[in-house]
Amino acid sequence: MVMENLGSSLRDTLKKIARANRIDEKTLNEVVKDIQRALLSADVNVALVQQLSKRIKDRALKEELSGKLNPRQHVINIVYQELVALLGEPISVPLTRHTVIMVGLQGSGKTTTTAKLARFFQKKGLKAAVICADTYRPGAYDQLKQLCERIGVAFYGEPDHSNAVEITTRGLIELKRYDVILVDTAGRHALETDLVLEMKAINETSKADQRFLVLDSGIGQQASEQAKAFNEAIGLTGVVVTKLDGTAKGGGALSAVAEVGTGIAFIGTGETIDDLEKFEPDRFISRLLGMGDIKTLVEMIEEEPPIEMEEAEAMLKGEFTLKDMYKQMDAIRKMGPLTKIVQMLPLGSLGVDIPDGALQSTKETLERFKVVMDSMTDEELEHPRVIRSSRIKRIARGSGVTADYVRELLKYHKTMQRAMKGVRSQKEMQKFLRKQGLK
């Protein structure tokens, strides 16, 4: 895929600077162009990308290389800082009595997110309630009602009534003994004047403390303009980015928060009610740039945090057990559905290049490996050597795979173990472990 090529071209250029001991303008221009491409194909607003690349260029040339950093890290660090600045602080929601209004374009996931948020507050021990103020889309009432019933959250709506403002007024009275009230509104876009007016009225009626824009992670260049319009109408206090379980990079969301000057509160990562996560800028930026290790890199630049020596030593001695592998896979899986996971696998970080696309089904494989490992006993996980044919048969049956598949997993583990032994120096080890997400 093209996107992967893009990621690897960025990597190639960065490798190039890593070799140079100082940055000349020509190389820098090349890098900046690659970063531009990465950002543009992640749907970051074109004008914003242009501003950003100018700042990156200026800073990279002006600021002195600090002793610790090589030029590559220097540039990435600047890119990272600039992106963090654009993203603003993650918005944290108060766990007190308040009202939230959810707005957004059609199909961005407002209703699903409303239910997820209600669940979030409920889990925090607050009494949450939901008002359905979407009187346009057929089925919107039923959808929200069913979702609320599933999680046992109070719901107010009037299916036969078409005035969303009046429904909201009555809903607020009805639900006044609840701690957190969420108002779900109909999808609308900036050009639908009537609907924008209606949204303003609902907002005034509800006196909402939080005004969240729900934004599809796949949105393109329209993101900043739409966000701006919503902001002008009701004054947004935060953004929720949805559908991040797909392949969209979310550059539209970045552009939106940069435009509005607010931050991201939550991200939606799936269809079930608990698939709502708090926003982590580092992970988001890694995804945006298609580079798995940005956080590690930045941490390395800042300070070398101590790692758990016991674990490290165990691994250094080559006692890399299946349990360690399991942890590692879990860490990788959490990085998001990246086909670029490749870069983060040990082979990649040991300087062995794996061609893009060779491990396309990585995520799937990791998940299946985990299932297989779930069918193993503690003893087997700690001492894989005890696994012989009869155990293999049992594990295969337990996890619903073929015996060959279990053998494949064991072979993979052996390869990893060998790779671990290959890592010699302590310093290298530390870097490596952090890359693997083992702290």
């Binding site: 089925g139 039923d142 959808q143 069913q146 599809d216 796949g218 393109g220």
Partner: protein, 373 residues
């Protein structure tokens, strides 16, 4: 839609034209006299909007350039010889002259939500087409540029022509159409619009409530079916969508209905199990038409999604929704390119008749400012 892209494309045409003209002028400038205002013009020419000094434009218009140019030098008392041993009257368009305008073109396409990979391909086509083209001295290259752009875009959009109306008319009944796409792109609304359109054309339509997953999905399509007065086949929530659609097809056969429009649940293309479910639907149903629905607001990810859906269940055509949200329209180009299948319709609003047939030729004409057809 497409208004800003249209402006940008025209700007590109203009820039290349001016640039080439400036090169002509520059050549005369060096040959004749460095002190002529032409030399100043050359410097400006590297910036985007160079307008040749009025005098020279007039000259070019009034007299045949081939005769005028050398005499200009002669009049100033010098003999002009073609420099660097090549003809002054014919010039090749060079890569380095196009570099900057082509980058601007790429940015313009990206701004219009054409995905990166597709923008690059269009720019490459235009580049291949233009570089090395011989042109006459002072010839207006605008037309050349326009043709190259037109070809580049049409090549992407005008693929495997499929006329929806023709297909419905000619295919053996019932015609089964399955709609796929990620969550929230407007599949159900689009089905209602297509049903409305087909009904008005005199076909008997059956809807299949294939979204058995999302809360409220059944009620949503039920309400549309009621509003439109068409038959809906549904099971309860959580049922196998393939079974629902199969039943709808059986029903249509038995009752001699013409078209089955099958909804499916929105799914994110990275969810392996849900993508396998689509494969199952394809196996069980053998649909006449698989329509991929995506929104015009989508950016680069449109390509990836379209590819993934195409792998699970080969797409025959796409419908682009939410075009009314001031979208730039580039998504149409991205999706057509990724699926190599035509865009069938555009969704333009919330009402049942907010749907128009898409015609690539119409789009290209619109982009290049000709009368709408």
């Amino acid at each position: 839609m497409f208004e800003s892209l249209r402006q940008k494309l025209n700007q590109f045409k203009q820039t290349v034209n001016n640039k080439e003209r400036a090169l002509d002028d520059a050549e005369v400038g060096t040959a004749a006299n460095d002190a002529t205002p032409l030399a100043e013009g050359l410097e400006e020419a590297t910036s985007e909007a160079y307008t040749p000094p009025a005098v020279h434009v007039d000259e070019a218009v009034e007299a045949p350039p081939s005769a005028e140019a050398p005499t200009q030098g002669v009049m100033q008392g010098e003999t002009v010889r073609p420099t660097r041993g090549k003809s002054l009257f014919e010039r090749e368009i060079k890569e380095k002259d196009l570099e900057e305008p082509l980058w601007d073109l790429e940015i313009a396409l990206l701004e219009s939500d054409v995905a990166m990979s597709v923008s690059e391909e269009i720019v490459d086509t235009v580049k291949r087409e233009l570089i090395g083209t011989k042109r006459k001295w002072r010839q207006d290259v605008g037309a050349l540029v326009e043709r190259a752009l037109r070809d580049g875009i049409l090549k992407v959009l005008d693929v495997n022509g499929l006329d929806f109306d023709e297909l419905i008319k000619q295919a053996p009944k019932p015609v089964t159409i399955v709609f796929t796409g990620i969550n929230g792109t407007g599949k159900t609304t689009t089905i209602a619009k297509v049903a409305y359109r087909l009904k008005n054309q005199g076909y008997a339509v059956v809807l299949a409530a294939g979204d058995t997953f999302r809360a409220g999905a059944l009620e949503q399509i039920e309400r549309h079916a009621d509003n439109l007065g068409v038959k809906l086949i549904k099971h309860q929530q959580g049922a196998d969508p393939a079974a629902v659609i199969y039943d709808a097809v059986q029903y249509a056969r038995a009752k001699h209905k013409d078209v089955v429009l099958a909804d499916t649940a929105g799914r994110i293309h990275t969810n392996v199990n849900l993508m396998n479910q689509l494969k199952k639907i394809e196996r069980v149903i053998d649909a006449d038409l698989v329509v991929f629905v995506d929104e015009a607001l989508a950016g680069n990810d449109a390509v990836e999604r379209a590819l993934q859906f195409n792998t699970a269940m080969a797409i025959d055509g796409s419908i682009l929704t939410k075009v009314d949200a001031d979208s730039r329209g580039g998504t149409a180009i991205s999706i057509a390119h990724a699926t190599n299948k035509p865009i069938l319709f555009l969704g333009l609003g919330q009402k049942y008749d907010d749907i128009v047939k898409f015609n690539p030729q119409w789009l290209v004409n619109r982009l290049f400012g000709e009368a709408e057809t």
